[in-house]
């Protein structure tokens, strides 16, 4: 009786006396479904990797920096938010973004930001902080350098 149920269902604790290697391996419907679903997942994954390879890997990094129109003022300091997008396909590391604020009636101010990691079409945000109102001078934000992985 106990042996019959053991043949119908894959019992977890098979006693050593019942050698399954002698019995024809029985796959239940449930096991076939698991196999089908996992195979599908793996196939999709491989397809995505190949697609990404063909679509993106040939395009070197390129950057687009957007600056917010108005700065946020908190405690007398000016916060200028920016967003940097890697418009290329490949990854860039240690992307250096510099900001220079040229003022007519004061010393120039400069800021620097290093982004560790910016993969293809990834977008990251940050802010530069100035003592003077960026509207009163000329603000230049640009990407100075990056490293390939």
């Amino acid at each position: 009786m106990a042996d019959d149920s053991a043949k119908n269902t894959p019992v977890v604790d098979v006693s050593p006396s019942q050698s399954l290697s002698l019995i024809e391996p029985v796959r239940t419907l449930a096991e076939w479904i698991t196999l089908g679903v996992t195979t599908l997942i793996l196939a999709i994954l491989v397809a995505l990797v190949v697609y990404d390879w063909r679509a993106n890997q040939s395009r070197p990094p390129a950057f687009q920096v957007e600056i917010a129109e108005t700065a946020r003022v908190t405690d007398g300091r000016y916060y200028v938010p920016f967003a940097i997008t890697n418009t290329g396909g490949r990854v860039a590391r240690t992307v250096q973004v510099t900001a220079e604020l040229h003022l007519d009636n004061a010393d120039d101010e400069a800021g620097e930001q290093q982004i560790d990691f910016l993969s293809g079409s990834e977008r990251k945000r940050g802010s530069f902080v100035f003592e003077h109102d960026p509207q009163t001078g000329e603000l230049v934000i640009r990407v100075a350098s990056y490293r390939l992985p």
Partner: protein, 292 residues
Amino acid sequence: MRAATVNIWREELKAVLRGAAGSFLFGIPLLYTVEVWSIGSAAQSPLLLAVLGTTFIVVLLLTEIEGFRRTLTLHPIEAILESIEALGIGLVCAAIALVLLRRVTLETPLSEALGKLIFEGVPFSIGVALARSILSRDRLENRTRRTINRPRLLAAPSLSSLRDTLVDFDATLIGAILIAFSIAPTEEIPILAADIPPLWLLWLMAASLLFSYGIVFASGFSDRSDRRQRGLLISPTTETLVAYLVALLASITMLVFFQQLTLQDPWQEWLGDTIVLALPAAIGGAAGRILI
């Protein structure tokens, strides 16, 4: 016959959950490693395919010895099919873990998400193949159980059931420390906690409870009827909740021990760091309860 049909599905679900349990237990340490994320993100597609292929071969070699379903040596074709399943289950678990810790979000570019997934998928898939070896108590069966053959009536609070509860409590603590102690002093905890929005922490708590419940009660590693006879923590839900509290307390203690949390830190940081570390602690605690 009908009962047998139901059993097929339940046994299969148990087998998949067993694989998933091993997957999380083996994969968690590398999940909390910043280098793996960045190596994965920077990897190029040919390398990713090679990593996937290598992982398959390693999983196949492990499955040849012991699959996540059966202990006995498998038919060669059966071993290949089961390795495909192990790889698939491992990758799904890795994906769940990455989304849960917000290493992959809707804003993550495809190539970065694929890289992280495939690199984290390596330990997760190996964990599936090793699930039985790590977590199964079959090989410990020779050891006499402390509580074997205890009549159910004795499950009412008594001195000996109190002792059994303490054993469960102890096992949770040991498991939690074993897994989480090596993660607690690392920089990953504040990095992850900083990236997780406050409400997302609820998902993390829910997942910790679910994984803990799944490993102990749903995956069939330990015999439930046997467990029910033990201790004050009779209901599986209560046991899971208490075990999570133990995991939280263990996490907070370890974080304070390593000075990751100090009295100067805001309470939000205490909350975030603790819940992030309690996930591996809860998984370790669950493993501890089925092994000890």
